[in-house]
Symmetry: C2
Subunit: 72 residues, 2 copies
Amino acid sequence: MKNLRMKAARAAKDMSQGDLAAVVGATRQTVGMIEAGDYNPTLKLCIRICKALDKTLDELFWEEEDGWTREL
Amino acid sequence: MKNLRMKAARAAKDMSQGDLAAVVGATRQTVGMIEAGDYNPTLKLCIRICKALDKTLDELFWEEEDGWTREL
DNA sequence: TCATAAAGTCAACTATATTTTACATTTTGC
DNA sequence: GCAAAATGTAAAATATAGTTGACTTTATGA
């Protein structure tokens, strides 16, 4: 399942996947895979992404029930 | 930095590290290292821990500033 | 249309999360 | 005190997150 909230938050900052990757110290491909979903990033990277996009973990990576976190 | 919120949430459920590990499909050692801090678990494991302890990601793993997430 | 930035994808490699086994130490209840 | 459960710790092995380089495909704007 795609992480559309992350994609939207990045768009709101007018950043490309490469821009965000550079800020959080990751690669363009890794950021792409996280947005594409079906991927299991580390907490460290999630937190860096949240701070770069001015969001919290819950806002970008939490789903109460039957969401994309279901299939992790 | 220790994750005392997780330790407290686990205590509130009267679960040992081994109990929680069994529920989330991890080992006792991994749970112990996460509580001990200076460790970088995957998002999947964090989410499973949150659900097992009836907490959200923000409640257990988010720190606004100068918290334990600082050193990840 | 055309040029270019952005995004999708793939294989091979490196870094590290997680497991397994084993033993030491600390807590807890009797 | 004592026995058992819970926790701390550590080395070696495995699974997988994340990188690197290269190429393709899809936007986007001039």
